[in-house]
């Protein structure tokens, strides 16, 4: 038995929006609003749950970020040879490290601190002033200087008591003065304190006149220290003592 649409709609005139009579009776009835609401809600929930789940799955499928290729010989494939190669590398690496009784200096340019390490322990902490990181540009020559404390491992290459600072070109440019041709006009005694310890490329660990600025980044790249601390380093460090700066 079949019931025509006209009959059904007539039978259910009380229910709101239930099988509305369509003109001509050719179109299919719309689903009830409640049902379509539920359908949309389920779809949204599925999307909200499924999309991130799919995202998480995709993240797991990603390839790991590649490490930089290493220069040198390829690692042996034989496990025994590989084990021996690792032992040899570990030995060579420990040979580069400081010997147990060898002292070394560590400069932390972020915290403006200098540490004296000996016998595997830090035995003295000193307040310092490292580079500002400021930039100086010479408008005439186009040369640029960045006043940063260098990073990396260096060695003490010389020591001076009562050092005289030989002002480099940038010191004159910074002050708006002409660069002297006479070398004697570059000499400025007293500004480096009582002692200076050279670490190469014109960088020093030295004393300072501006003690109240210790702990701040105010130097042109050198490491400034208080009187007692620079005296300690001057007297204790030897030519060849490591100075590690970061």
């Amino acid at each position: 038995m079949t019931i025509s649409l006209h009959q059904r709609s007539a039978a259910s005139t009380r229910g709101p929006n239930r099988f509305r009579r369509e003109a001509g009776g050719t179109k299919l009835p719309r689903p009830p609003r409640k049902l379509s609401l539920w359908g949309t809600l389920i779809l949204v929930v599925l999307l909200l749950v499924g999309w991130p789940l799919y995202g998480g799955h995709l993240a797991k499928q990603q390839s790991a970020p590649k490490a930089s290729p290493l220069a040198g010989k390829a690692a042996p494939t034989d496990p025994d040879k590989l084990r021996k190669a690792n032992e040899s590398l570990a030995k060579r690496l420990s040979a580069l490290a400081a010997k147990p009784d060898e002292p070394y200096v560590v400069v932390d340019s972020a915290l403006n601190r200098v540490y004296w390490w000996q016998g595997g322990a830090m035995i003295r902490e000193m307040i310092a002033s490292c580079g500002t990181g400021n930039i100086l540009e010479d408008p005439n020559s186009g040369r640029t200087w960045v006043f940063e404390t260098p990073r990396g491992e260096r060695k003490v290459i010389g020591k001076k008591a009562a050092p005289v600072w030989m002002k480099p070109d940038w010191a004159f440019i910074e002050e708006g003065e002409p660069i002297p041709k006479d070398g004697s006009r570059r000499a400025e005694p007293g500004v480096m304190g009582d002692y200076a310890v050279a670490i190469g490329d014109g960088y020093y660990l030295h004393g300072t006149l501006y003690k109240r600025l210790l702990g701040r980044n105010v130097s042109h790249g050198c490491v400034r220290l208080g009187d007692d601390d620079i005296e300690f380093i001057y007297k204790t460090a030897k030519t060849g003592t490591r100075v590690i700066l970061f």
Binding site: W51, P52, L53, G55, L58, A59, K60, Q62, A64, P65, K66, A67, S68, L70, A71, G72, A75, P79, L82, R83, A85, N86, L89, A90, R92, L93, S94, L96, A97, A98, V106, A110, L111, W117, T132, G133, N134, I135, L136, E137, P139, V146, R151, G152, E153, R154, I173, E174, E175, G176, E177, P189, G190, L209, Y210, N217, V218, R242, I244, F246
Partner: protein
């Protein structure tokens, strides 16, 4: 016959279980070799490098194989696989603070501007100049930033103050959920665009995040071992 099959199955599984650790051992040796070779090369070049010690949850600042300082990590959250063990170079980083540019005084300008002063003795300490404290210091470094690794992937660094109240704790938990959800939501789009989207989020204290930013300039070396967080 049945006993023979069971015996053979047992034997095969036994051999299989013995073979698996041997493979794992080989992999471990290869990773160890990669890390040692990378570290030895950096040590020979007298470079300062960082070692992401995930087991101890800290960055080791190293030179010549010696740990000279450490930066503790509060929390590690990987999104996608961890970077391959080995040497990773910092290719780029965001939020680089602008450096101060020194203003050069006009020739003779400083002297001309000064009122007539008595001539100072040659040994008198020079006056502290204004530029002396205009510097890029560690406190100028950001505490929320991203470091891009050369081989793809990135390290996201964030810092939150330790939660002291329940409200703050809840806020941090919500932030963690939001981080996961937002990454999961973005992932299909990034996959469609063929962008790499692996990330290792590290949560540090504000001071440590700033120190890490200082210690890892663009081009610096970072050693990542194979440990899982």
């Amino acid at each position: 016959m049945r006993h023979l099959i069971i015996f053979l199955l047992l034997l095969t599984s036994l051999l299989g279980s013995l073979a698996a650790p041997a493979h794992a051992l080989d992999d471990e040796l290869i990773v160890q070799n990669t890390l040692l070779q990378a570290e030895y090369d950096l040590a020979r070049k007298k470079e300062v490098y960082l070692y992401l010690n995930l087991n101890k949850k800290q960055f080791d600042i190293r030179s010549s194989g010696m740990t000279i300082s450490t930066i503790p990590i509060g929390e590690v959250r990987p999104w996608g696989p961890l970077p391959e063990p080995g040497l990773h170079l910092i290719a780029d980083k965001d939020r680089v603070p602008e450096r101060e540019k020194i203003q050069i005084p006009p020739p003779g300008g400083e002297e001309a501007a000064k009122p007539a002063a008595p001539p100072s003795a040659p040994t008198a300490p020079p006056v502290v100049k204004k530029f002396a404290v205009q510097a890029t210091e560690v406190t100028d470094m950001p505490s929320h930033y991203t470091l891009w690794l050369e081989g793809g992937g990135r390290l996201a660094i964030k810092s939150f103050p330790p939660a002291s109240t329940r409200k703050e704790l809840l806020a941090q938990r919500f932030a963690r959920l939001f981080w996961k959800f937002s990454h999961a939501f973005k992932a299909p789009f990034q996959h469609y665009k063929q962008e790499p989207f692996t990330e290792l989020l590290l949560i540090l204290s504000t001071e440590d995040a700033q120190r890490l930013y200082w210690a890892l300039p663009v081009g610096s070396a970072l050693l990542i071992p194979a440990a899982q967080p």
